[in-house]
Symmetry: C2
């Protein structure tokens, strides 16, 4: 793979993937050896090459499938040790050329790719994702996101020439200055992970810091360390192979009761922070006045106006909010349907029939023994279930709960919950106008298209939105939705049915989070995601 081809793919935005997302495309032995590696890790110390002498180990991960602790313990360093290591490593790493960094980082991804199956099991048993999502999201998709970042990085770092002679005619003579241009990295980057997508959401920030010459401390969620620890191990091994300081990337381990994140975030040597997680901590990160890249929560809406085939629409919506039990930041939450119903070529589907259609689509999915359990995965933690149960208790009469029990054939202890639907009127905004993470969605009855669009737009502007799914066959409404939603910096996916799901954001094509509304201040991956991590400096020499 030539850099020129990657640069071209990144600009073109057509389909492009460097790592194959299909587990079946890999050598069959890899699955077995990955599973074996996973099983061997349980109840043991996960040593890292960067900290061979550490005696302090800690871990508190619990499998959402087994509902027992994994017993894996990771090297636990103090904030001071981490910062000191990161400073030493920074002073070495920053001196490499962008091309040298690119080549080494590319090697790290290739090393990681050998362990995609172990990463998949590690992800399953920390996040609760299904095997397939775990494999794809934490392995090939994460690596493609990292590669996209590296490609954008090398492009930006080559924006100015390394050096140039500037010759100005002054009338009687030429004034010549020799100039150089340097992309000077900012220092230490802290990357704070989340419990649901421990590599997909983490590696873009890590590789963005690294390609631009910063050193990195990864602070994963204490309940989802294992998948990213594999990345750190492979990266450190590659650094050592190149006679580099392995602590160019480090893993910061803390506990739920004694978190280390704020100590690291507030340390003056930490210049960059990448964060994925809840709004409260995200707002804190943004308030520190450092260069930061946040992905927080939003409320994702579905606009239902008109369609060709309502069943196909209902199935698509039901799948999108059921996938990984609504624990994706891209999952729809509020589904807006006009009281006058949904226009189709076969006539109007009444509001009541539209609600029933979505209920039936969900029921069909949940009663499909092959599809239900892999779609839902498991719930990452008990907190998600109790928040949803509280909400349902408040709105019992409006709640549609299916009388279906989904079993996971492989793990009968899996923490699962069939998604619920609360129906509500547009006026009852206190019911639905807040993020409700997990397997619960709201169907909101509106007076019509204009009210729907107004509410959805205000919702994105005030509460943030990462996605918006819209169904309309009316060209002028399409344009209006796009213009209004884009004006509050929310992208729109139109008329998705079949295999197209609003949840999925593909590397080298889709911008993940716009950075323009309260759901986050950054994007995977635009030029700004790279450029804020270093400063261009131009020096001038008179020769």
């Amino acid at each position: 793979m030539q850099i020129a081809d990657l640069l071209k793919a990144n600009r073109e935005r057509k389909f492009f993937a460097h790592y194959n997302e299909n587990p079946k495309a890999y050598n069959e032995d890899l699955n077995a050896s990955g599973l074996n590696a996973f099983q061997t890790k349980l109840n043991s110390n996960f040593t890292l090459p960067g900290n061979p002498n550490t005696s302090n180990f800690y871990g508190e991960e619990i499998s959402p499938y087994l509902q027992t602790g994994l017993g894996i313990h990771y090297p636990k360093l103090s904030a001071d040790e981490l910062i000191s290591n990161a400073n030493s490593a920074f002073n070495q790493w920053r001196k490499l050329s962008p091309q040298q960094r690119f080549d080494i980082l590319f090697e790290t991804l290739d090393a990681v790719s050998k362990r995609f199956f172990e990463i998949a099991y590690a992800t399953m048993h920390t996040t609760g994702q299904s095997f397939l999502m775990s494999f794809q999201a934490s392995g090939p998709h994460a690596c493609d996101r990292a590669l996209e970042v590296m490609v954008t990085g090398i492009e930006q770092l080559q924006y100015y020439p390394n050096e140039v002679d500037w010759v100005k005619n002054m009338g009687k003579f030429d004034l010549t200055l020799h100039k150089n241009y340097k992309a000077v990295p900012k220092g230490i980057g802290l990357v704070i992970g989340c419990s649901t997508f421990p590599t997909w959401n983490t590696v873009p920030g890590v590789y963005a810091d690294l390609i631009t010459g910063n050193s990195v401390i990864i602070k994963p969620h204490p309940k989802a360390v294992y998948p990213i620890a594999i990345f750190v191990e492979e990266m450190q091994n590659v650094f050592i192979k190149h006679n580099l300081n392995p602590n160019i990337v480090q893993l910061a381990i803390d506990s739920t009761t004694e978190p280390i994140t704020k100590i690291l975030a507030e340390h003056p040597d930490v210049k960059l922070i990448d964060y994925t997680g809840g709004n409260t901590f995200g707002d804190y990160v943004e308030s520190l006045g450092k260069t930061c890249f946040t992905e927080k929560a939003g409320i994702n809406s579905v606009i239902v106006d008109s369609c060709q085939n309502f069943n196909a629409v209902a199935q698509n919506i039901a799948f999108s909010f059921s996938l990984y039990s609504g624990q994706m930041c891209t999952a729809p939450q509020n589904i807006y349907i006009p009281e006058s119903g949904v226009n189709t070529p076969d006539g109007v589907i009444s509001y009541e029939n539209a609600v029933e259609g979505i209920r039936m689509a969900l029921k069909g999915l949940m009663e499909n023994p092959k599809a239900a359990a892999p779609t839902l995965g498991a719930i990452q933690n008990d907190g998600t279930i109790s928040r949803i149960e509280d909400k349902i208790a408040q709105h019992q009469a409006q709640t549609i709960q299916l009388d279906v029990k989904v079993e996971n054939a492989e793990f009968n202890t899996a923490r699962m919950r069939v998604p619920s639907i609360i129906t509500t009127d547009a006026a009852d905004s206190s019911t639905y106008m807040q993020e409700c993470f997990g397997p619960l969605v709201f169907i909101v009855k509106t007076s019509g298209f204009d009210e729907t669009l107004k509410i959805v737009k205000d919702s994105a502007a005030k509460h943030g939105a990462i996605t918006c799914l819209a169904y309309t066959t009316d060209k002028s409404k399409m344009e209006q939705i796009e213009d209004e939603m884009n004006s509050v910096f929310t992208p729109v996916s139109f008329n998705f049915t079949g295999a197209a799901f609003v949840n999925q954001h593909a590397a080298f094509s889709d911008l993940h989070v716009s950075g323009g509304n309260p759901s986050g201040n950054a994007t995977f991956t635009n030029a700004e995601y790279i450029n804020k991590r270093y400063i261009w400096i131009g020096n001038r020499y008179m020769l």
Copy 2:
């Protein structure tokens, strides 16, 4: 001029100028008609095409040469009127394509270029700059900076394709999504000008906002309105010619006693702020949590270690701090000389002789009747003189004051002051470690190169620096200075003598302000200077 050529010039960083900086290159009549236009404006209302019906006019400019009021009054609108106008104009302007915006903005610069001489007189009599600097900085150099911004803008806005078909093979079928990519502008931009460079420091932000589709409110310093008012007039005329709302750009007039800036800056519809000026207000702007681009103050240092010809060095330094009486943000302030003196091929120049050499170079410049007055220009306001006099009063014994009186032959009322030099020891940091705007510099005696570099680096990191001038013939010290100063995000100019001056930052080659130290958070002009003004949005359609 083709955009492709401009894009190439912008990337290459070689010498490039679209507008001629030499007043003699222009038709001779233009000077006379520019002067006449200036004289006609005095004591009258400056009407603007965007506000034909305004009856409220205000102005308080005072000529630093005449030390009398100009009597020009500008249309004064309320903050609410300005915001309302800007919102209407935004909804029209944002819908134009980047190419359409580029063409129209290019026309505005060409219209402005017809008035370079009037702009020069307007700049002289508001800022106190000499005629030549006024002409160059406010006219061709400002327009080249604006053009550089537009070129960077159009390049960035074309980063992604307008639309693309994304085709993913799903095994048995292809999934095709039609995607578009839109650079959505943020809203209203507020550009806050300063009293010393009312167009050069203002137009980059204005054209950056405009090329990316935002509307702009320019809030000039109430003592330096006239030069930028000419830009606004010409821009509004071009907008009207294209049947566009003239208030795409507006002029916000306020008074020293009733400032409007905070009201505008805090208005929720103002999404972008560009600011040039003092640190206190700059810190306030940065604290608002909006997208902002600041150029504040710093302390610019000169490192003297060794050189080929100390006289040439002394002359260069003396000219650089005398130019426009030290009122340039790029002017050197603190000159560090080791107590052991300065190495030259002809032997060591002792510290005392080095100080004397700088004094003599300044004396030579001030006693040159052709050079002195045009170099100094005039002091923009009395506050600058009183601050310097206070400082000198505190350090009378250490102050070198020349017994030279510089007269301005044309304006015997010009507010002038020959630069003073305070000599001090490195230990007395309270003497020199703060910005001292105007015709006063400090020569700081250090224990040697290591102490010099340590102080200069700390100074840049803590107080900011826009420039650093260094003299050394030692290759390893050059590398060390570059590495250490670049690490605190300060560019270095090495061994400038003759016609090379640290003060000058050329469009299409020099990055003005790094954005990485306390002297400011942005750069004229990198990609980030453009990209923060809009949000990339990608929409997806299933066809």
